[in-house]
Symmetry: C3
Subunit: 405 residues, 3 copies
């Protein structure tokens, strides 16, 4: 314990681990400062202060961990804690990056994704076991939702509480908050960051998450901003494919339903482009076809893609059939177009009958009738497992943003 | 401690206690499996796995409790914990039942009710003392309210927090959740159960709680489903009568007000039928008389009942005067009927003057003018104590559903 | 430890500290009773009961603190705990008062204010350090909001959670709670106090907080009642001036904007009158001038005040420029008056250019365009620090109301 204790320092935003720190504490501090993001400047000052406390630190090493942590943090603004096997294991994979905010799917590369997925795997154990984890005890997450999304909100709040953290909730910030009085998003963020350690924001405007992150001194997670991004959904989709199929390279994926307005299928396509030999089929009504920007992006990444009107044919070739809801709210006033699009390309037992043995059906949920109920019992129906995976992904992101590796 | 430790196993849903377990651990496991409800099948597998770890278990018995619990749970999916005097006391009364869900008042028999009441009595101490209990630490309760009921919601949430548990809240699931997009209740439940350990649901449709419980792998408590059931209200009513009057057999109860639409009086009548020599008076305006189904049920159980239009006469004979609000929302468009019914049969000081010395006035609350304010000071005004008892009943149910006896 | 242990007793509402208690425990109990507020009568009884347990107490003194606390509390209803340096420090300043509720700014005198500010200073450390404080662990705060105010609600809830406490939330009690069914405020309070240890209430009616406090057996904090009071805002305003300017006597303050309807400027004027040599300028459109009641009050307290239409002139003389929003909702139907008033007296870089080096600009927030964005970077722009101070003030009040000194 002591060996690890003296050489791992946590800031609110990151972690440093250097075995030689015991011998040379100053080096440890330097590394620590180099790891601090720009927004950590004032903590950075505290770090250098810690250099002056070396002797004090050594003596506290002899004392029992808990007191030391408290003392040391007070003195230096750094959180010095014992390293559980879980974190130790993580360090061993040697993935290191500074995750400041989660704004869009494109910000993640393959290495980052696999590192996050590894933490998510560990979170499944954390969630299943009693007594529950307390690694985020004392941290507060603010769920700032300018447009209601009970499912997403509960998923994030459960993730925070499963790790021992606290939550401040606003389910309808748009209607109730000062926004109704004309306050800018930036001002609202400057207030809320004073009450919390991390902000999970849902907004009705595309790009709102990026604006919030720019204004905030604490991490911001985009829980969906209008027609724009919903990165945690994209992460859990890719995570689920990896868990269910066992790989991401060389897979064939059919994206079905509303591809024009469906935020999730667009983000998913972006992420799949990071893997090799991926083949994508677009299956949708004409009125809601996948837009050219995505098609061009995929082509530029040498991702094979094809449009098809034949769900049965596509289903027989895919490892993943990703069904989506035709969202009425995306059609605005054009109820006629909605009626035309809705209910076509249903996934039912006929579709199941042509699918591969080990293929899976995914769906971001909620589903209406685009997947018939009799499909639920089939082991290839993975959409509820997919929803649960969202919890593990969000637990992983909260842990990484608040404690670092 | 060690003696108890080795022979009490908690699953998420129940408990087994077998003194001889120390000698024969396998027997203990068998009993445990037999106790697991059908929905525990996969935990069941974990149990049998535990048999293979006997030797490991023995060695951990020597080690200190806390570590053992953690280790043992991880290994077997069973929660093996020390037994506090409270639970020990409970075990001693020898009441044993598997409480899976709380759906309707009729599901409880006399023995179950008195066992629950005994736990509720203990919960009063738990709530009054500092430091507060942490027996549900790490557990998450989801309050899924499709129709708002601030009072009921806060009562459940307070109960959970008083036991150290966490809460996920939706105050208006109907308006905000995916239900608005047409998701089925069953799908919503399958999602929410992934975020929590127990679901407390309020719904606008009769029978919704039963459907939710059928779909859920975790316990569901019905916090009221439309005109249907509100079992925890019924439990707290009977619990209050037992506390205030000191008995349930041989009592005389006057049910007053809206008996046709009043969910609480209907459920209360059901429960009172389980006791001996109960006499019930129905006192209500003609437009909202008690319906025949209840009258027939009472007759079939040999419960004496009588309709009366004379509140003063009834009040003079009753141990309990159960007043109810004439609920406008139950009359729909018929404002005229509402006006006719409302405000009649007021409980005021005149009624008090004819009531027995040790009788009590109950009311599910909120009250409008059907009980005058000057009644509040009278010691027989028990309706605020009744509301507080709801907290103890809900604490008891949460404890029993999550930890078992 | 033992020395302190035997002589400090906490009730839910206050604290007594008497060094000689060790020699004469009965004396300690008497002092304790004398300290109990009227609403503590039943706890009072518990106290005297404790006298009978002297010998038991002595023996527990030998045992380790934690067990003793638990035991002793159970036995006497008093919370006997070790005294951290923080509290010890507080005792040393010798300020003693029984804070039952926080209803209006006027209830605080200079000594009380400076004592609260000292606790608030300590709360800044508590909030910045990890692991976070748990002094309110096991306590539940109910935020009963009859009118939405996300900012104020989140500030209180963050304060409670930063101290380890739990929260029950109602963001829109008016619409959802039993109030909609016609329940009186007093009845609602009698229910909610059964679920919580302290109530933070926001209401749309002036005087509602006082009514709630009169009905409640537990502390009530007024989080704003209609056009009436918003005492915690007033406290954080004065606290911020004291922190930023370093003093409260002899300062010059310009109150700008909607002075007729602005709750905050009215309360602030009341509090400033408690200090010596304060000069106040009222700068506002004619339609929303400061009302005579405040002017008369200030005159009666020999506070110099002056009305001015020249913001530049006033800004050049002030230590504090307190800008406020022209609140549309306070104008009701008179949109024309709103349009006339809004947008005048803007604080921009021109105003900054004439202000003193060490003066500050305050604003209760949210701000629209009455302070231009380019002012934010100026160190004299203190309104976001002011908002953060609200957290420390609320942490201090929660600590004082629940644990006492």
């Amino acid at each position: 314990m002591a060996a690890l204790f003296s050489c791992q320092l946590h800031t609110l935003r990151g972690t440093i681990h250097s075995p030689e720190a015991r011998k040379d504490y100053e080096l440890c501090i330097c590394k620590c400062n180099s790891l601090l993001s720009k927004r950590e400047s004032n903590r950075g000052k505290l770090c250098s202060a810690a250099v002056l406390t070396q002797s004090k630190l050594r003596c506290t090493e002899e004392s029992q961990k808990c007191d030391c942590t408290r003392e040391f943090w007070k003195r230096t603004g750094l959180y010095c804690r014992a390293v559980g096997s879980q974190r130790a294991h993580l360090s061993s994979i040697g993935k290191r990056f500074q995750l400041d905010d989660v704004i869009e799917a494109q910000q993640f590369d393959r290495d980052t994704l696999s590192a996050i997925f590894e933490v998510a795997d560990q979170m499944e154990n954390v969630e299943k076991n009693l007594p529950r984890s307390q690694i985020l005890k004392g941290y507060i997450m603010a769920t700032l939702f300018y447009e209601p999304s009970t499912r997403t909100r509960l998923s994030f709040e459960s993730a925070m509480k499963r790790l021992g953290g606290e939550v401040l909730t606003t389910e309808n910030a748009r209607e109730f908050s000062s926004a109704a009085k004309g306050e800018t998003l930036e001002d609202s963020i400057r207030i809320v960051e004073g009450y919390s350690d991390i902000i999970v924001m849902r907004h009705f405007e595309s790009g709102a998450a990026r604006r919030a992150a720019a204004a905030a001194k604490i991490p911001v997670i985009n829980a969906g901003d209008g027609p724009g991004q919903h990165p945690t959904q994209a992460l859990l989709d890719v995570y689920t494919i990896n868990r269910e199929i066992g790989k991401l390279d060389g897979i064939t994926v059919g994206l079905v339903g509303d591809l024009a307005n469906g935020r999730t299928v667009r983000s998913l396509a972006y992420l799949l482009a990071k893997y090799d030999n991926v083949k994508i089929y677009f299956v949708s009504p004409d009125v809601v076809k996948m837009k050219d920007d995505i098609k061009d992006y995929l082509s530029s990444k040498n991702v094979k893609w094809e449009e098809s009107a034949d769900l049965m044919d596509v289903a027989s070739q895919c490892d993943v059939v990703y069904q989506t809801r035709i969202q009425r709210e995306r059609f605005g006033e054009r109820i006629d177009l909605y009626k035309e699009a809705r209910g076509r390309y249903i996934v039912n037992r006929n579709v199941l009958s042509v699918m591969k043995e080990n293929a899976v059906i995914l769906h971001p949920l909620p589903r209406l009738d685009e997947i018939t109920l009799d499909v639920d019992e089939d082991p290839r129906a993975a959409y509820f497992r997919q929803a649960k995976n969202g919890l593990y992904i969000r637990m992983a992101l909260l842990k990484l943003l608040l404690l670092g590796w």
